[in-house]
């Protein structure tokens, strides 16, 4: 993941890496970009910029290493540096505030939800999607990377430039926030929760 140029690839090698290792991830890249920006045009621009940067800095990519994580890191950085400011969807929480306030690794793993697995299973895709989209971008991001894209904590740590402990605690908080949103939907759907039965 280092930006340091390791070697110079020939034109043929560059094409092979680009087509064989970068382009297969375009579906995941577009989905990530769309869930960050909530706008089709912004998502397209973000993905396109990411691929152009990836090509431009291809010599700093080591062939055969984790191309998907490398691309996601570029996309995430582009989003923070360039798109977040002009995004049509204003950030719900100030990034610095989140970084300072939520980056503590000290997290309480007490249960915060009375919701039941059954009520979650019956939820519609739209409800899940809306709940995910309503989270602040830093929480939304860790859930997308872990649950939708299947990255490991270590890969997420490199993509997000944060320690593994912070990945773990941010994920836990993100899922708790998601549970709160889903619990609201569950009540609207008429599911009883333990809280209501007591």
């Amino acid at each position: 993941m280092s930006e340091v140029q390791r070697r110079k690839y020939s034109q043929e090698e560059k094409n092979s890496i680009f087509d064989g290792e970068f382009m297969p991830h375009i579906d995941s890249m577009y989905n990530f970009a769309y869930r960050l920006t909530f706008d089709e045009d912004d998502a397209k621009d973000l993905v396109q910029d990411t691929y152009l940067k990836a090509y431009r800095f291809i010599n700093s990519f080591e062939q055969g290493t984790n191309a998907k994580a490398w691309l996601f890191r570029i996309l995430k950085n582009s989003f923070i540096n360039e798109y977040r400011r002009k995004s049509k969807q204003p950030a719900k929480v100030d990034y610095q505030e989140v970084e300072t306030y939520y980056n503590s690794d000290d997290v309480d793993y007490q249960s915060t939800s009375d919701m039941r697995a059954d009520s979650v299973k019956d939820m519609l895709g739209d409800e899940i999607s809306n709940a995910l989209n309503s989270l602040a971008v830093d929480f939304r991001t860790v859930i997308i990377l872990c649950d939708l894209e299947g990255f490991t904590y270590e890969e997420m740590s490199k993509i997000l430039d944060i320690p593994i402990g912070t990945v773990r605690s941010r994920l836990h908080r993100a899922r708790n926030l998601l549970k709160e949103k889903l619990q609201g939907y569950a009540k609207n759907m008429g599911y009883n929760t333990d809280e209501e039965e007591e």
Partner: protein, 89 residues
């Protein structure tokens, strides 16, 4: 019907260390713990709060993975990327 009562089946109703247990269960669900099958089996068989927490967390991961709509990549995006790459080659 109280499903909580029904599903306890010999499990203790209070967890002695929810903080440690829930962190472990969440790491297992995220695939971060090797050889977790036995640990998980024992925890879920003995402790009701761990059992409930595990299944709720698992359900959330499942719906996120299976029900969050994938946005289709616009057709012109791949062509546009390739065209721009050609220009900078």
């Amino acid at each position: 019907m109280d499903m909580n009562e029904e599903s306890t089946q010999g499990r203790k109703l209070k967890c002695t260390d929810t903080s440690k247990c829930f962190e472990l269960l969440e790491s297992i669900l995220d695939g971060e713990i090797d050889n977790s099958k036995e640990i998980l089996k024992e925890k879920l068989a003995k402790c009701q709060p761990c059992f409930a927490h595990f299944h709720l967390e698992q359900a959330i991961r499942d719906v996120l993975k299976n029900k969050c709509t994938k946005h289709e990549v616009p057709n012109e995006l791949v062509d546009s990327i390739r065209k721009q790459i050609q220009e900078i080659k």
